[in-house]
């Protein structure tokens, strides 16, 4: 643990996990959203430790900067009261256990399939692609997936618009 990178990694990792727990365990919706924000910042820190500055910055820019702000906007708009959340019911426990089980299985599978080399961080640091490489891959090899994902998001957005406008013609709204 003499390498400052290791120390920083442990710090960020503990911080991220603690904040992630905070998201789930906080009774207050706004506090949860803020924990999510800190969690994302922690993840960005982990990326930065890997010299993946672009990913770190995008993490902060897109998720921390915009998405969580919108979360908070919605929470405040709907005025979700703190403390209203019910304690965990049976369904929640089952779903939670299932999710944790699936996640563990997934992580274990990936870990077993590709055992990382001992000096993985160094390797990653050396070979981490520059901004331009990202851009090139996004516009060549992965152009179709990117467009498909964008289209999916567009559909989701349209869906939201349709759903939120649903009551417009009804008499009882007037």
């Amino acid at each position: 643990m003499t390498d400052p990178r290791d120390l920083l990694f442990s710090l960020f990792a503990v911080f991220t996990v603690a904040c992630a727990l905070g998201v789930v365990l906080n009774r207050n919706a706004v506090a949860s959203a803020l924990s999510l924000l800190l969690c994302l910042v922690g993840v960005a820190g982990l990326f930065a430790l890997l010299d993946a500055f672009l990913l770190a910055v995008l993490m902060v820019f897109v998720y921390a900067g915009a998405v969580v702000a919108l979360f908070l906007f919605i929470i405040m708009l709907l005025d979700v009261k703190g403390g209203e959340r019910k304690p965990f019911g049976a369904a929640t426990v089952v779903a939670g256990t299932l999710a944790v089980g699936l996640l563990t299985t997934g992580v274990l599978t990936v870990a077993r399939a590709a055992t990382p080399a001992k000096d993985a961080p160094q390797l990653v640091a050396q070979n981490f692609p520059k901004l331009k490489d990202y851009a090139e891959l996004l516009f060549t090899q992965y152009l179709l997936p990117v467009q498909v994902v964008g289209f999916l998001l567009l559909i989701a957005m349209l869906g939201v618009i349709v759903l939120s406008k649903r009551h417009e013609g009804l008499e009882d709204i007037k």
């Binding site: 995008l58 900067g65 915009a66 702000a69 908070l72 405040m76 901004l131 331009k132 851009a135």
Partner: protein, 384 residues
């Protein structure tokens, strides 16, 4: 001199970084405070008043010529600072105390962090132009956007923790407004980076490289600043900058006419002043970014780069002097830009909230997209 430099460069990297960061903060913080005084003076002059010109420290009053400083409100600034530091700092009973106190602290983080990736000037060492910057990363501008976008949380937190309706409305407005204008802002700078990342060059989002592309000599193509090549981009960026820094005519979160004081209604004393220092820091950094992107950074005039001016003055061989020259020119541009901010503030009435949203989504964003498409095509043709 050189021994000090040697001693300094002998220090551990981490300590040096901390020292540099502290130095920048020590400059930025008073600069932001000075902006508040500049705002008061400029508003006064525009309104035909002298502005604050009475305060003077009694033990300095005898010095001849001190009245110039007094008339400029310098001592008023110190008195204000003292007042904000020492006056009672009330915490209303109905607030969510933890987040209420957290909010002003959070507001300082993005305000003081963004400056790390903004080059503050340039110096010439061994005939080579180098940036004066805290963290020279190739994601440059993206990092500025990313960190400054966190500034909205202090406003959201403040409004929510205040647990009262006007601050709450202010913070709801802030969260929607800042996200809306971020889009146009980001889209508006894309043409600049499309242009400087010409085929065959290494990809960069670094602000220093942007200025390098505006440092041509004489009547060369690259001696014209980007504000002339891309006026629409500059305009959109400017408008979005006003919105992002919550300045008039876009100061919806504050909007004292309809929201009392907006998000900071419940704040007072030092916590309140932190919000304002943060706002001015955002303004300074935002103006700096605008100058770098569109107004040639530290180049004194179009066609007259810093290196040439240093040659003319005969100081090209002294890195320290060239650095000071670069910082001076850049600071001058930023200062005049901040004057522009204030000039606009004391000229325009505030938009209504629906107008703000209309401008953001229905006018600025389509304009930014059209602008991007136009320049993408134009640049593709030119750089083919």
């Amino acid at each position: 001199m050189s021994t000090i430099a040697e001693y300094y460069f002998g220090l551990p990297l981490l300590l040096r970084m901390v020292l540099q960061g502290t130095a920048v903060i020590l400059v930025l913080f008073p600069a932001a405070a000075a902006c508040s005084m500049a705002e008061r003076k400029i508003s006064a002059w525009i309104q035909g008043r002298p502005g604050p010109n009475r305060t003077v420290a009694p033990f300095l009053a005898w010095i001849p010529g001190i009245s110039i400083l007094r008339n400029l409100g310098l001592f008023q600034l110190a008195a204000d600072g003292g007042k904000f530091t020492f006056k009672e700092d009330p915490v209303p009973g109905h607030v969510n105390k933890f987040y209420f106190i957290l909010a002003p602290i959070v507001s300082m983080i993005p305000a003081l962090t963004t400056v790390a990736v903004v080059p503050l000037g340039a110096y010439i060492s061994n005939g080579q132009l180098l940036p004066i910057i805290l963290a020279d990363v190739d994601v440059g501008l993206l990092a500025v956007f990313a960190v400054s976008s966190l500034g909205v949380y202090s406003i959201i937190l403040a409004g929510w923790a205040s647990n009262s309706k006007y601050p709450f409305l202010g913070s709801v407005r802030a969260s929607a407004q800042l996200v809306s204008y971020e889009l146009s802002m980001t889209l508006s700078v894309l043409p600049v980076f499309l242009w400087i990342n010409a085929p065959g060059e290494h990809g960069t989002l670094n602000l220093f490289d942007v200025v390098q592309k505006q440092s041509g000599t004489g009547f060369a193509w690259d001696s014209v600043w980007f504000a002339a090549y891309m006026p629409v981009s500059a305009f959109i960026f400017l408008v979005a900058l006003f919105a992002e820094t919550n300045r008039q005519p876009f100061d919806m979160p504050e909007s004292e006419a309809d929201l009392v004081g907006g998000f900071h209604t419940e704040y007072g004393a030092f916590k309140w002043s932190l919000f304002f220092v943060a706002e001015y820091c955002h303004m300074i950094v935002g103006s700096g970014v605008f100058c770098l992107l569109f107004l040639g950074g530290w180049n004194p005039l179009p066609g007259l780069p810093l290196a040439l001016l240093a040659d003319w003055l005969g100081i090209a061989g002294v890195p320290l002097l060239t650095g000071l020259l670069g910082i001076g020119i850049f600071a001058g541009k930023v200062a005049s830009f901040i004057f522009f901010f204030m000039w606009v503030r004391w000229t325009l009435p505030r938009f209504r909230y629906d107008q703000v949203m209309n401008i953001g989504w229905k006018k600025l964003l389509p304009l930014a997209i059209a602008n991007l498409v136009f320049y993408a095509l134009a640049i593709a043709v030119i750089q083919k």
